[in-house]
Symmetry: C2
């Protein structure tokens, strides 16, 4: 079974949460935007114009045979059930999805630190506003989200557990990605935040050491962080 | 079976998407924040502090017996399966959820028109930034989201259909709520947007006419729109 992933080829972005799940699952997938001769944005955009009963609003989009599925958390809900990346029982499945949606809210707020005036303007056109938004993010929102996931992990028994129990889930992969991204984007603020959240740090390390994830992160398939994605390192937003 | 809903008692907010689903389902629920003697914020906040294996990050939260479920779209996923507010087959369930998550993205952008600098500041502290963000919302994002749902409805056969087929789903209820809210918040911009989207307007009217929804909207359980919620009518943000 080969999946097709439609996502922008030059950033990790929201597509990276899907890529990590596919990689951990050992799934065969074609990342169509990453064409044989370089980035192929047109191949990604084409899925938005395709005539289908279930049109996607935006990438990432996953094709599985006749199925075309969009929305990051929704794709993970779908993949989680197929590849054992979520508990099989309904309660565990709903809880894992709840964690993912909370991570998605966090990711939205991270994105807004450099785009408070919205997606229609460049960062360079909203720098003073970004500075104010980032200050509130560092002071209040970052510790609040970190503390929440630390609390969740504190309630789970055993050192090898993930957020939703003993088995790794897509929410664990996503928390890894958020921690990784925040270390890149806000190295100073994140170092402070991690001091109070050793369980989050430990989970990040456990995910990073997963054999398939470790191979993926060293591969060319992993796009480096850069200032076009969600997690952008603008030193001026990491001060204070 | 009695559900308990934990949500702020003086606004529709994100809790309203859950309330609409419970009302359409004819479900018995206790809206704990709306205490017998007036708003009871403490009763809502208490769920965030409760010792539980699945702690919620923020309201809305739904309790169903021993289950405590958070995140609006996740609660609707849960209720949809129990009350026939989503297709029973997996493809339909995933598609309905995808629509809901796209609506959630839209709602986030609507909220950001009056809070571009984040939830830590009042609107009064970010009025110039809100004006810029609202301008981009009216010009680009509002027509884009409206056009998307019009396109989805265009692909569905029959006048009585909802977004996901012949049966009403929670995504239809949510689209109704977004249209209702936008008419309140941006009456001028929304009137323009609806001109090109007759199917969205017609779906809104069909939902409004559902017997249980019609009764609910006239009841005291429906909190009026106001300037503390997601959909706020600030005339200065509806200009241009």
């Amino acid at each position: 079974m080969t999946y097709t992933l439609y996502y922008w080829p030059t950033i990790q972005g929201r597509g990276e949460f899907v890529r990590l799940a596919l990689e951990e699952a050992g799934a065969d997938y074609d990342d169509v935007g990453r064409g044989p001769t370089g980035p192929d944005f047109a191949a990604v955009a084409a899925i938005l114009e395709e005539e289908t009963a279930c049109p996607p609003f935006a990438p990432p989009v996953l094709r599985d045979g006749d199925r075309v599925i969009a929305q990051t958390a929704n794709i993970l809900l779908y993949l989680g059930a197929r590849h054992g990346l979520a508990p099989a029982d309904e309660a565990g499945r709903i809880w894992t999805h709840q964690l993912q949606l909370t991570l998605a809210d966090w990711v939205d707020e991270i994105h807004d630190t450099h785009h408070p005036l919205g997606p229609s303007l460049y960062y360079e056109d909203q720098k003073p506003e970004s500075a104010r938004r980032a200050e509130a993010f560092r002071a209040e929102r970052l510790p609040k989200f970190m503390g929440y996931f630390e609390r969740v992990l504190d309630a789970v028994t055993g050192d090898v557990a993930g957020l939703a129990g003993p088995e790794l889930t897509y929410a664990d992969l996503s928390l890894f990605q958020v921690v990784e991204g925040l270390r890149y984007a806000f190295p100073r603020a994140m170092a402070r935040a991690e001091r109070d959240c050793p369980r989050v740090t430990a989970l990040h390390a456990r995910v990073r050491a997963r054999p398939r994830i470790a191979v993926y992160l060293e591969s060319e398939r992993r796009i480096p962080f850069n200032e076009d994605g969600i997690f952008r390192h603008y030193p001026e937003l990491d001060e204070g």
